[in-house]
Subunit: 217 residues, 2 copies
Amino acid sequence: MSRRSGILEFAVLGLLREAPMHGYELRKRLNTSLGVFRAFSYGTLYPCLKTLVQQGWITEEEGGLTEDPRAAALTGRRAKIVYRLTAEGKEHFEELLAQTGPDAWEDEHFGVRFAFFGQTSRDVRMRVLEGRRSRLEERLDKMRASLARTRERLDDYTLELQRHGMESVEREVRWLNELIESERAGRDQREQRQSGDTGDLPRHRGGTRPDSSDDTT
Amino acid sequence: MSRRSGILEFAVLGLLREAPMHGYELRKRLNTSLGVFRAFSYGTLYPCLKTLVQQGWITEEEGGLTEDPRAAALTGRRAKIVYRLTAEGKEHFEELLAQTGPDAWEDEHFGVRFAFFGQTSRDVRMRVLEGRRSRLEERLDKMRASLARTRERLDDYTLELQRHGMESVEREVRWLNELIESERAGRDQREQRQSGDTGDLPRHRGGTRPDSSDDTT
DNA sequence: TTCGTCATGTAATGGGTTACATGATTAC
DNA sequence: GTAATCATGTAACCCATTACATGACGAA
C-alpha cells in the first residue's frame, strides 16, 4: 500500500517539476543526474508513481504522440505514458523543499536535497548545509573517541580503514565550509534585500529556469 | 528462514575468530571498529546468530559466570550467552576470506573485506584492491560520460554535487593506488618467499594479534 | 530508588531488489 | 532481420529496521 520512500517521492516530484517525463526517462535521470548517491529500479519507481497519482500530485497522460516538443526533445523519441506534476503536486513539493527537519541532513536525504538547491530558498539552503556540517562533526567526535579507546587493539588495516573513513568525513566538512561561505558571500553582496535567491553558486538564478510558461510543459 | 546477509555473517565470523563474545558486545564492535560503513541492529544480529548456530559455525554457550577470562575482560562484566567459533566455522570463514568474486569489491562488501585484511593472504588482498580500483575507474568513466552529455542542462548545484562526487571517487582511487603500491613494495622486499603475509602495512604481522593471552585484557 | 547501560529477543513493517513477462522502436 | 535500447509493469523475495517486551546490574 504505502510505497513511499520519501527520497524517491521527493526526487520524482522535483524532476517532474522541471519537465513532464515518462517513467523510463525519469529513472535514467534519477540514476545519473542525482544518482551518484542512489539508484532505483523499475520495481521501485513504477509503484511509487502509482501512489503519487493516487495522491493527486502527478497525472498519468496517455502519450500516443503527445505533441509536447519539450518531452520529445528530452527523450529524442515519442512517449508512452507521460507523468506531469499537478498544481497540488507542485505545492506539495514546495512544502517538502521548505522542510528542515533533522532528516534533511542525514546521509540518505542530503544528496537529493542538495540536488534541488536550485529551487530551494537561501535560508533553507543554509540551514541544511549547517545541519549537515554539525551532523558530520558529531560523527567525527564519535570516531575520534572510539579510535582513542581502541587504537592499540586494532591491526594496521583496520586502523587504516578508520583513518581513511575519517578523512573522508573531514573532507566533506571542508567542502561544506566552502559552500556555506560562498552562500554567505552571496548574501552579503546583495545585502539580503531580495526575497531569497542568488548566492555565489547559482549564477543562473536559483529558480528552475528562465521561467515564463516553461513549466506549462 | 534464510536470514543471511553475507556481510553480517562474514563480520560476525571474523570477530568471533578473534575472541568469543556475546551478542551485545559483538554488535558494538560491529558498529564501531568496522562500523564506519555499516550499522546493524539487534533485530538483525540475533536472528543471524541463530542461523549461524544452526549451520554449526558457532556455538551458544550458557555463560552464567563462564570462566572465560577473555569474554569477562572484554566486557568488564559477566556474560549471558557467549558465542564461540567452531572448527567448521573457522574453516568456513577461511573459505570466505579466500573468495575474490566480483562481489568482494562492491561498495557493501569492500569495507568488511578490508577490515579483515589482517587475516587475508597477500594475493587475495591484491586481487580485491585491484578489483576495487578498476570498479571505481569504470564508475568514473560513466560519470565523466554522463557529465559530458548533460553539462549544459544542469544547474550549478547539481553540477557541484556531481563534481564533488567524482572527486570522492578519484580520492579513493588514489588511496587504493597507495595501498597497492605498498603491498607490492612489501612483496618485493621479501621476494615473495614466504607463504603470504607482511606487506608494508601489517607491521605487526598479518595475523590477529600478538597472540597469547594478550586479548584477555 | 532511579537511571543508565548491559543484555536478549520477537512481530510488524518498510523499503527495496531480482527475475520475470511483454512488447515497441531504432540502428545496423 | 536481429540486436540494442526504449518502455512498462508484477510477484516473490530479501535484508534490515522499528517498536516493543523483558529483565539484570551498577552507580548516583
